[in-house]
């Protein structure tokens, strides 16, 4: 018998409201044990929740959703409590005393939704992201996934590929029938829109970038003011700042969210041609490697040394004078407006490089499968239909794996719906 599980499904108390969800075959009786009676399905009702000694625990808005048309596919009860720590703890303790009812393990609600066919794999992955989302951008991307954005896109691709398969199969299995001969033959160019859409999807930043942040690397020669700017951008003294050149010998990282975008700010050792300090040498090595991995480079040094695409910074503007039109930004940590302006510049550049993140952001698993399908589709040339069909089959298999569905039936339906076959 399946256990009935419960968990707090709103944020940590204290809060105005705390929602506890109970899912499983005993959800109804467990809810009833606390609330006395449950309101009719899908209707909110105010109930007094009591413990086994009839002492009142809370007044709660109570809802009952009968399975299988629920988020988990099972009977589901929701208790909307007053969000104090003590209230939540008391209700949880009371539920845990009921036989066959226990606290849910992490991810167990989603697991049940997946097992009960309420979500496909891609949606479940999106939901998991949603629960982990910390920034607005992460939330939007995860929501798009959980609502089936990727599933819909991949389904559209599969439909297009089914049609291509159907054409090839019609030519292979029924090529001698005039119906098929009349229909236009398979044209590999018909796959171009799908291929382009797949390439565009792969060009989107991976979800890991959203989770871990856009990498902003501060680079430049020693003593250029990198660490000071690092601290100013963070708004706290994370790096040790001295007048001694080469103070920062290793790489320093800090995470920060601006405009709903997560950033990883990286302060690096000053780039020097030579150093006698072996630790600084390693730091410089790492700094160079980081320049390659950076999404955005803030360059605090001579303009002619700036890496391509770098944002050039005229730092310590209070001490030095710059020709403003030669630099992207001229900043001083003592003038907050210049730091804010730099931040807006970084944020808009990040938004540009991340693209439209209200859309779907593929996971590594998705990227691999889409990439595998893409390789196959690019091999299709219209020469040997048999091999084209084989490449299509593997591509379909890979895309089907994203959703976990079989593409053969869809192809046969397309085949028979389109052509009048058979003698």
């Amino acid at each position: 018998m399946t256990d009935t599980i419960f968990a707090l499904s709103s944020g940590r108390p204290p809060a105005a409201i705390a929602v506890i969800r109970i899912s499983g075959p005993k959800a109804r009786s467990a809810g009833g044990a606390l609330a006395g009676s449950l309101p009719p399905p899908r209707t909110a009702g105010l109930r007094r929740l009591r413990d086994r000694h009839d002492a009142t625990l809370d007044q709660a808005l109570t809802l009952f959703f009968p399975g299988p048309a629920t988020a988990t596919g099972e009977d589901l009860v929701e208790l909307h409590l007053h969000g104090g720590r003590a209230v939540v703890a008391a209700i949880e303790a009371e539920l845990a005393l009921l036989p066959g009812v226990r606290l849910a393990e992490p991810g167990e609600f989603t697991r049940r939704a997946l097992s009960n066919g309420r979500l496909d794999l891609a949606q479940a992955e999106g939901l998991a992201d949603l629960l982990e989302a910390e920034t607005e951008m992460q939330r939007r991307a995860a929501l798009a996934m959980a609502e089936g954005g990727l599933s819909r896109t991949v389904t559209e691709w599969l439909d297009a590929l089914s049609m291509a398969s159907a054409r090839i199969e019609a030519e292979l299995d029924f090529g001698d029938e005039d119906d098929v001969a009349q229909a236009s033959a398979f044209d590999p160019a018909s796959l171009t829109p799908v291929i382009e859409a797949m390439v565009a999807m792969l060009d989107r930043p991976p979800v890991e970038r959203l989770r871990d942040g856009v990498v902003v690397v501060l680079a430049g020669p020693r003593n250029a003011g990198k660490s000071s700017l690092f601290n100013a951008l963070l708004g706290r003294p994370a790096a040790i700042v001295t007048d001694i050149a080469g103070t920062t010998r290793d790489v320093l990282e800090a995470s920060v969210v601006r405009d709903g975008i997560p950033f990883r700010l990286v302060d690096t050792a000053g780039l020097a041609e030579e150093t006698a300090d072996p630790i600084e040498a390693i730091g410089i090595e790492r700094a160079r490697a980081l320049l390659d991995a950076a999404d955005i480079i803030l360059w605090l040094g001579d303009l002619e040394d700036a890496p391509p695409q770098a944002v050039t910074i005229g730092a310590r503007a209070d001490e030095r004078s710059y020709r403003a039109d030669c630099y992207d930004h001229v900043v001083s940590i003592h003038t907050p407006a210049t730091i804010d302006a730099l931040w807006s510049g970084i944020a808009s550049r990040a938004a540009r490089s991340l693209g439209d993140l209200s859309g779907i952001v593929p996971h590594r698993r998705h990227r691999e499968l889409i990439g595998r399908a893409l390789v196959e589709l690019r091999h299709i040339g219209g020469g040997d239909l048999l091999l084209d069909a084989e490449h299509l089959r593997i591509a379909n298999l890979a895309l089907g794996t994203i959703l976990g569905r079989d593409a053969t039936e869809a192809m046969l339906d397309a085949l028979f719906g389109r052509f009048c076959l058979g003698k």
Partner: protein, 571 residues
Amino acid sequence: MKQFDVVVVGGGHAGTEAAAAAARRGARVALISQALAQVGTMSCNPSIGGLGKGHLVREVDALDGLMARAADDAGIHYRMLNRSKGLAVQGPRLQADRRRYRASIHRQLADYPNVTLIEGEATALETQGAVTTGAILADGTRLETRAIVLATGTFLGGKIFRGLDRAAGGRIDERPANLLGEQLRALSLPMGRLKTGTPPRLDGRTIDWARLEPQPSDVDPWRMSPMTNTPRLPQLACAITRTSERTHDVIRRGLATSPLFSGDIEGGGPRYCPSIEDKVHRFGDRDGHQIFLEPEGLDDAWIYPNGISTSLDVETQTAMVRTISGLERAQIVQHGYAVEYDYIDPRSLDHRLALGAIPGVFCAGQLNGTTGYEEAAAQGVVAGLNAAAYACDLEPMIVDRARGYIGVMIDDLVLQGVSEPYRMLTARAEYRLALRADNAETRLSEWAGSLGALTARRQEHVRRRSRMREAARAGDDRTASADIVREVAEDRRYAPYLERQSEEVERMRRDGNIAIFTDGAALRTIPGLSTEMIERLELASPRTLDEASRVRGVTPAAIAALWLHARKRSA
């Protein structure tokens, strides 16, 4: 009292192959047919093979079945379909002389001393407890047996429709098998109705051949079976014509009396072999449909107009034919009709084609929801081999999806069931590049030989050909016959793809080892399975995770739940 190991009910393509296959494994076999003279009759079109179907014929032959050699004995027109497209989708197809085909089947069966032909109607299966013990005939004869193969074709509850006329029977002038059908229904086996049909037959002497485009037989002398060494019969040409708008008008006017559109026929017909009235109805925008005029025999004037299967009334059929180019004066010698018949939901069978509900009973052919001689014959072989195994305590013989189209078909049938008569298509096979019509012998014969399913003569043939193949693979083509040289060359051409597929196959076979329980009680203990999933799994009763993944409508989520459960159990 007569004692047998295996009793086969039905003498069509499935029944005759089942009887011969069981006999090859050493069983004492009885074949019961209502009319022995009709054993081996081609009741619909006079052709054998085609795309996918030709693969099945070659596989039946590789298992030493009768069909390919009978086809060669009777072939009056050979055509290799898809000749320009790669061996994996080339479909050997031939037109057979009906009489010579039947004669060849009779002759081949007579070569099996352990097959007894019995004329009569099987009316009941006899069981003791859960074990099959015998078959009862209409005249009261009781045959004692341990295994029964049902291959009743369209005769179980068969009903013929033509216009407003109705008749009982599986073929014109032949009685249906109703008592046996009643017994099966009484056992509450899951059964349903399906429909098939035939076109009117024409007198070839009344066709204006000069006006039509002829289609000659292939010149190169390929044969259906590598065992065949006799010369070809004289070859005839087929011809092509087509329906016209006038034809379609006549059909539309006649629809009022069509049993298809009146709702009289409840059984589903195949999408890929629709009647001409269906085609006109579903594809109203087409101005014509192709018709192949196929001779039915060398010394026989009957012509089979392939493409205008119909159950319209007699007058409409005549008027319709007269609107077709070349057929303006054609005489109809037998009108077309539709047949509706009982079939058993094949999900109640296992991969041996054994009925789960009654141990010892096997089913093959149209009874299982398929269409076509080739599909029937292929199932007949598997049912016969396994009925003999059951009766004589031998190893079962199951062809999996990677070994042959036979395996693809049976796997589809027993796991997915049917919603229309099942026809083989090359598109159904995942491992198509490996499952070619030209390498059926390589894939199946040695395996069959190791399980004692080949005659001594075939064994010798296989040994000789294996030596040729080995030599050809080593680069020595001097001794190999032309078809083997081609086979080896094709293997080389597809080598990288074959390698990739064989990895896939290995993965499938490995996953196939994860056993699952699918009886209802066990399924209900698995968290996360909906009632619908439990029902689907219980009905198809897959034995492994891999099989479960191919059951129609079973969601990936359910597979995940089964997998989690299986893993937990083994931990």
